[in-house]
């Protein structure tokens, strides 16, 4: 008989900070440069070179810590984590250990299972390592040190998550927050967000935690959820068979969909942490911490709630619109410019997001401002153009810098409200379809739509459908 278990998950999330320069030198931290072209004596670990802390990276880490409700420490200390690996130029990574930047935060996430408050144990700053390239030189491993020294924060949660869905929701929420703060773009493909999951299970009702394993190499949000499911099943099978779960580090294999243990050599490190003597303790005075706190933007949760209350939007709309700060800003400008909030929401979630997706970005990548959009929606609202024509005008707006009014004018897209012209089109349609007219008059009501369609098509879509409706009724 299989026991009933509950799952306990803690996450360790590495996030790349959006600074222009690396953490301890002035090389560019950009992604995608030719190997070993963004390096200098400091990040190469050349003899005699010394690290100098990038203050902008500290500011970003500070914002992240405050947004996650952490206590930021006025003194934190950089430490050396010692181990040998070919991608680690100095033979140690500069990180924070005993005295991290911040501790004791929390983040609340919502899933179908309800709300869950996840405690954040600590946030610390550290430098990234380089990258090993196994496919560049036949039979040899090459090293690219462009990433070496890129600034990261590591965010460590308490084991408060209880399902893969919650883990995924936590990561999505975290990504949104860090995006709002301009702290990180959390792009997993480019390695700017990396996740390790600590997973254990225990019989329902047990108070002690089960033995945990650490699952690494999770390169997408869906990989996180899939790997946790697989690992939980593996642990359940072990316990059901009366075998113990062994504490170890596992690698997720995305292709096969399994986890495999790291070689024991890979994990049997004694990192010999000690305070980094080349960097004085990081001092953040209260004033700097308070200033950073007051400069935080409204965060996604608060904004979602406000969109529902202030604009009367459905919860779903509020969630979609606030997923990125740029989109939420766009919507809000549009709504505040006098556009009906629900109409604005529909347009942003519909046509605008579709056009943005085609360009591989968010609404903010489109060359259309909220002001331009408000002008367009005013034309739809006052009947100058139809809803459908509005979409066409919008598409044209993204291809040139013409305003909605200019496009409608130049392309002759305004609806025709001139009764004479409408009468002529209706007359022509009625004359051309005597059978349908007879059947309609004998009670076949659904044919009304047929006549509207004919008139609209004769007008090449420019006839004002409301007027067409009215006139048709009287003429038929």
């Amino acid at each position: 008989m299989s026991a009933v278990y509950e799952t306990v998950i803690g996450l360790e999330v590495h996030v790349q900070l959006l600074t222009e320069e690396k953490l301890f030198c002035s090389d560019k931290a950009e992604f995608g440069a030719l190997p070993n072209t963004r390096v200098c004596p400091v990040c190469l670990g050349l003899p005699g070179a010394l690290p100098v802390l990038n203050g902008l990276a500290v500011d970003l880490a500070l914002r992240a810590a405050l947004a996650l409700g952490c206590e930021v420490h006025e003194t934190s200390v950089f430490a050396r984590k010692n181990y040998f690996y070919p991608d680690l130029p100095k033979g140690y990574q500069i990180t924070q250990f005993e005295l991290p930047l911040a501790t004791d935060g929390a983040l609340t996430v919502t899933t179908d299972e309800g709300e869950r408050t996840v405690r954040v144990r600590r946030i610390h700053m550290e430098e990234d390592a380089g990258k090993l390239l196994h496919d560049r030189v036949p039979d040899q491993t090459a090293v690219d040190l462009n990433r070496a020294g890129v600034p990261l924060v590591e965010i460590v949660t308490e084991p408060d998550l209880e399902s893969p869905a919650e883990a995924r929701a936590f990561l999505l929420e975290l990504k949104q927050i860090l995006g709002y703060l301009d702290v990180s773009d959390c792009n997993m493909e480019e390695g700017s967000l990396r996740v390790d999951a600590n997973v254990s299970i225990r019989p329902v009702g047990a108070t002690e935690l089960g033995t945990k394993t650490e699952v690494k190499n999770l390169n997408s949000f869906s990989a996180v959820a899939k790997a946790i499911v697989v690992e939980v099943e593996r642990q359940k099978a072990l316990l059901d068979a009366g075998e113990p779960v062994i504490q170890q580090t596992l690698l997720w294999d995305e292709v096969v969909g399994t986890v495999r243990p790291m070689r024991s050599k890979e994990e049997s490190h004694d990192y010999r942490y000690f305070p980094e003597p080349d960097l004085p303790p990081l001092k953040l005075d209260r004033a700097r911490i308070d200033a950073a706190r007051t400069s935080l933007p409204e965060l996604p949760t608060a904004r979602r709630r406000r969109f529902v209350e202030q604009y009367g939007l459905p919860v779903y709309d509020a969630g979609v619109l606030t997923a990125s700060r740029g989109t939420a800003d766009f919507f809000e400008e549009l709504a505040d410019a006098g556009t009906d909030a629900k109409a604005a929401s529909n347009w942003v979630m519909g046509s605008l997001m579709e056009l943005a997706n085609q360009r591989g970005g968010e609404v903010s990548v489109l060359p259309v401002t909220a002001e331009d959009m408000a002008e367009l929606l005013a034309l739809v609202a006052d009947g100058t153009i139809s809803h459908g024509t509005g979409k066409d005008v919008l598409a044209l707006m993204t291809e040139s810098d013409r305003s909605a009014a200019e496009i409608v004018e130049a392309e002759g897209m305004a609806q025709v409200a001139d009764e004479g012209l409408l009468e002529a089109w209706i007359h022509e349609v009625i004359a051309a379809h005597p059978d349908e007219v007879r059947r309609y008059r004998e009670g076949e009501d659904k044919l009304f739509g047929f006549f509207v369609g004919r008139v609209m098509s004769l007008s090449q879509g420019k006839a004002d459908p409301r007027r067409v409706n009215g006139l048709l009724k009287t003429r038929l």
């Binding site: 004596p41 190469l44 070179a49 033979g91 010999r272 942490y273 000690f274 080349d278 960097l279 004085p280």
Partner: protein, 471 residues
Amino acid sequence: MSIREIREAFNAGSGGPEAALEALAKIVRGESGNGSLNAFLCTVPEDALSEQAARAPTGRLGGVPVAVKDNLATSDLCTTCGSKILEGYVSPYEATAVRRLREAGALVVGKTNMDEFAMGSSNENSAFGPVRNPVDLARVPGGSSGGSAAAVAAGYVPVALGSDTGGSVRQPASFCGVVGVKPTYGRISRYGLVAFGSSLDQIGVLSRSVVDAAEVLGVISGHDPRDSTSSEREVPDLVGACSGDVDGLVIGVPEEYFPDTLDVQVRARCEAALERMEAAGATVRRVSLPHTRYAIPTYYVLATAEASSNLARYDGVRYGFRAPEAASAEAVYCRTRSSGFGAEVKRRIILGTYALSAGYYDAYYGRAQRVRERLACEFADVFAGGVDVLFTPTSPTVAFPLGERVADPVSMYLSDVFTVTANLANLPAISVPVGEVGGLPVGGQFIGPAWGESTMFRAAAALERAMEGSA
């Protein structure tokens, strides 16, 4: 010639590269054949030196030939740290101290031999052979800046740069009969100084006179944005300080530095020096620094712990020596480091790795840090109690014969007993010749309060004058 004389001739346009070319000629002559000191690991070619001289700006060190310890990065000469693992390595950038020398008009004539990665007190740990003491070729010059001390003592160059982690400038200065100074930690940028014990390392100067040391120290000191541990404090006028009198100066003499086991002759020279200082107007006060007895173990725990991490980068992956025919990354590490490092370096890496390892950190590294803090407080209290500067012997003995202590690392470590405290307490210290024992030089050490280089130079220059007066 003194720095002032060379500078005045050079800056007036009548000197040119003469002083530097003469220094180079002396080095080339002295370093060839039997009886060579083996003080240099590489020298600048003559035509390159002339070119350098032609481009050199006038300045505080205009035309002055300088030798530089081989653990300071120079872009035109080797930077090997006396190690096979860096044999042939040329740095793509220059140490801030070296750059400042050049900007002041100095001409770097060569890189000096040293104990491998500055680990040693006799210069016998160089992968490129020991340095000999110019005073007695059968004896060691001290270490680890033995090549720099020998080069100055032999008269090749008026000044040389060294580095001092536990006495590596002052002890060889004492053994070779020259002046050696290490300033307050943070006074000189460490950027480009190849790290041994980062929290203890400071660049220092060896010279034939106190004022020449002050001249060079004044040029290379001061904040450097590339070294976060370098101080933003203003650099005082050290040359001016050298002409100050010592009337009323209170010299503290810590009893722990004059133990019963101290060589009687060394003691006698130091006591005589103190008498001369009193004659010049200073007051001598006996003081106590009881934590000094823990200094050697504390120093060797901290220095080796930091070294074990600092030397991890020499792994054969990116630069320097790589063991041939290693099939895996792990084999590259093991073989490169096993055959690339010398015995003393490996001994210290193992010691330091142990001191930092899980389960031992608190007992060793943690405790040593606390003793270090206690020791620094003890010094601060003595200075706060009215002592202007401390005076001690620089080393318990004069230069010992080559080979004498090679087989006994602990006796070698104990030769640092009077010098390591200044590094542990981050204080400035200077060694000045105070006479000879059996033809071998004896050095006396002044230790100043933190950032108190002015007072220290004032005392050292006064002692130098008093010693000259007696000669």
